[in-house]
Amino acid sequence: MSAILPPAERLWWKHPLDRVEGTWIVISLIWCLIMFAMMVGWHVYGRQNLSTETYKTTPDLFTKKTQAMVDKYTVRTETDQKIPVVAPPPGSDVYLIARLWAFWPILELEKDKTYRLHLTAMDYNHGFSLQPANINIQVVPGYEHVVTVTPNKAGTYSIVCNEFCGINHHTMVSRLYVK
């Protein structure tokens, strides 16, 4: 009898269980349940859980909201393209547009303060990859994803697009300041 021949016992589900296998199945099952509990438990006790708050949106609608924030809270501009740097007050709604091939505007946040970060893509799928913290979120066109973020370290961060979005994908990178 081997794995490439029919089993000798016609009723294979009555085939006895070896002690090695029985022990391992019990250990594995316990480990699987621990991992499941860990994932559920982190929603209760952990501080890093991705929000699922999502709204349908359109490029026009989202641009309007972003523009309102930019008009109100811009503190300076950066680079040749004069990208506004926006410092909205803690606790407020902040908007970030991902489009071919840039993020707009540049955000300036305060350490240990909480913000509602709204993300959407204007055209294709993009990626929000915050470096060097290494937080990665998918940005999908047509959907406004509201993520509550609390920066825990001051510094200059980069936002890298890590979803392929065409020929200039590699130039799609921006900054984010935490004071």
Binding site: W13, M38, R47, L50, I135, N136, T150, H169, H170
Partner: protein, 565 residues
């Protein structure tokens, strides 16, 4: 009814029906051609991602990467799997293949589809990556090629199911089908689900590309596409695990430790494995937390449980067989005295260890809802799936090929000395490749990215030096692995062209049924502490400890990033 003949292979005792045999050959050979194309493209991918070389221009790189993904993940693997399905039905059950004309139609559709898709990609307007996320559009021929291929593959699955019916009706075997066939049935059931999902989403996308419908929702596309994209990798898991059981049986005469346990584990695959499409959607908006948690964990990690069971029972079966042969000293004599110079065995074993330790552990880590945020869309992801699909599936297929060259193709293998080394070169350089890739991913380096220096951008991010070093090592180990792949293709194609012809064995117009397997008396004279396979159990504990440590290290890492809620 059909005028067909059955050949009994004098080297293996397997019986090949002539139609099935021809179909296995053409599907396997086409698969190897796809592997060759994908392998050549891999040179372009790794030499561009190696920062010091940075070979191809951006547009060429994205085109080459698209073609590499599709040729390897879809065409190489599924053509080979069709050959495996026919082998596991017609050959292992010693019956004729059902509806050979439909099987040829399936092959023709798959071939036309594969060529159409490749032509579309190489024309340059379809560099959309394998995933082709809408609203980024490829040429209509891109989707049409995939749809034709999928229809062909679906027909091949039904030919497989039909063949099982014929074996049952003609009573070519008694009792239950062999375990390996059982595993192939698992693969085929998952394949039907997978291919149907692919059709559900690719048909509207094709209609969108020709202007018949206005738009396909980006998030709906991602959700359904991944029911195809990830589940197709689950076909591979079921298929290559079946091959591991087959190799254990062929190389050692090993019998499954317990038919009930192994088959039960395959049943868990059928029930839970496809839920894994959620793995790609954990960082997405719009899907609820409970949906993500339930799906990403295969309900409650039941498919992980199944894989951990297979990971024990296959080496366990080998250990039992070896101990019965007298290699009974200590914990590991059975393993030391294994035929390490037989590429059928060494390839399979390197695949098994790499799949478990590298692919399995990393897969569960990244499939954890919260932990996914620290690796989503980084090169950690291709690092993981090269461990599963290249080390796991591709290396297993290579190992099986070394068995099939004399048995199915009736040729003596050319250059057996080189073949002996091939699994080590290919497998171990892939081990290095995936480890450095996962390392770079842990540092955040993006996947599918032409230039980690962000040339032309005003706000370039400076990756840490270690990221550059690791991506350089990706290039070096990648080239070593490609060399290993080239040796496989040289040996396979060379043996088919120039290998000495071997005796094909007696042909008969009628099948010979499989004789009833004699029950074995289980008088256990080996092992220790009531454990039939103590060495395997020790290895399994090493695996578990690595798994637990790595899992919690990543939680520690996650706990230090920004608060998110």
């Amino acid at each position: 009814m059909n005028a067909t003949t059955y050949r009994t292979c004098p080297r293996s005792g397997l019986q090949f029906e002539s139609q099935a045999e021809k179909l296995m050959m053409v599907n396997a050979v086409t698969a190897v051609v796809a592997l060759l194309v994908g392998g050549i493209l891999a040179i372009g991918v790794v030499l561009t991602r190696w920062p010091a070389v940075h070979w191809l221009a951006a547009d060429t790189f994205y085109m080459v990467l698209t073609a590499h993904g599709i040729d390897m993940l879809i065409f190489w693997i599924i053509f080979f799997e069709v050959a495996v399905l026919y082998f596991c039905s017609s050959t292992l059950l010693r019956c004729r293949l059902a509806t050979p004309k439909f099987a040829w139609l399936a092959f023709a559709l798959m071939l036309i589809g594969a060529v159409t898709n490749n032509v579309a990609v190489f024309q340059g307007g379809s560099s959309v990556m394998m995933t082709s996320y809408v609203p980024m559009m490829a040429a209509p021929a891109f989707y049409l090629g995939l749809i034709l291929f999928a229809v062909g593959a679906l027909i091949a699955c039904f030919v497989f199911f039909g063949t099982l019916v014929i074996a049952r009706r003609d009573r070519t075997y008694q009792g239950s089908v062999p375990l390996v066939t059982f595993g192939a049935i698992t693969a085929a059931i998952i394949a039907v689900f997978t291919i149907t999902s692919g059709a559900i989403i690719l048909i509207p996308t094709f209609l969108m590309s020709v202007g018949v419908i206005q738009s396909v929702d980006a998030l709906v596309y991602r959700t359904i596409w991944w029911a195809f994209g990830h589940s197709s990798q689950q076909i591979n898991v079921a298929a290559h695990i079946s091959i591991w059981y087959a190799v254990a049986a062929i190389a050692f005469g090993a019998k499954p430790m317990s038919e009930r346990v192994s088959r039960g584990a395959f049943l868990l695959y059928i029930l839970f494995l496809q839920l894994a499409s959620a793995h790609h959607l954990l960082a997405d908006p719009g899907l609820s937390t409970s949906w993500k948690v339930v799906n990403t964990s295969y309900f409650m990690y039941f498919a992980v449980l199944a894989s951990m069971i297979h990971g024990l029972t296959i080496p366990g079966a080998i250990e039992v067989a070896q101990r019965q042969k007298g290699f009974n000293n200590g914990l590991f004599e059975w393993l030391r005295k294994a035929p390490w110079d037989n590429p059928v065995f060494s390839g399979m074993f390197i695949a098994l260890i790499g799949f478990g330790f590298l692919g399995g552990i990393s897969g569960v880590m990244m499939g954890t809802e919260q932990l996914n945020m620290i690796i989503h869309n980084t090169v950690y992801v291709p690092g993981h799936f090269h461990a599963t699909v290249v080390i796991g599936t591709t290396l297993s297929f290579m190992a099986l090929t070394y068995f099939l060259i004399p048995v199915l193709f009736r040729r003596e293998m050319i250059n057996p000395g080189l073949a002996k080394w091939q699994p080590y070169l290919f497998g171990l350089s892939m081990y290095a490749f995936v480890l450095v890739m996962m390392g770079a991913g842990t540092l955040g380096v993006s996947r599918r990215h032409w230039d980690m220096a962000f040339s032309g951008s005003a706000m370039a991010y400076e990756w840490p030096g270690a990221a550059y070093l690791l991506m350089g090592l990706v290039g070096i180990s990648g080239i070593a692995a490609i060399a290993g792949g080239a040796i496989y293709i040289y040996i396979t194609v060379g043996s088919l062209l120039w290998g000495r012809r071997l005796d094909e064995g007696a042909r008969s117009p009628k099948f010979t049924p499989i004789p009833r397997t004699a029950p074995t008396l289980a008088a256990q004279t080996y092992g220790s502490a009531g454990f039939a396979a103590p060495g395997t159990f020790a290895l399994a504990m090493v695996f578990l400890v690595s798994f637990v440590l790595y899992y919690f290290i990543n939680w520690k890492y996650l706990s230090q990033v920004w608060g998110l809620s």
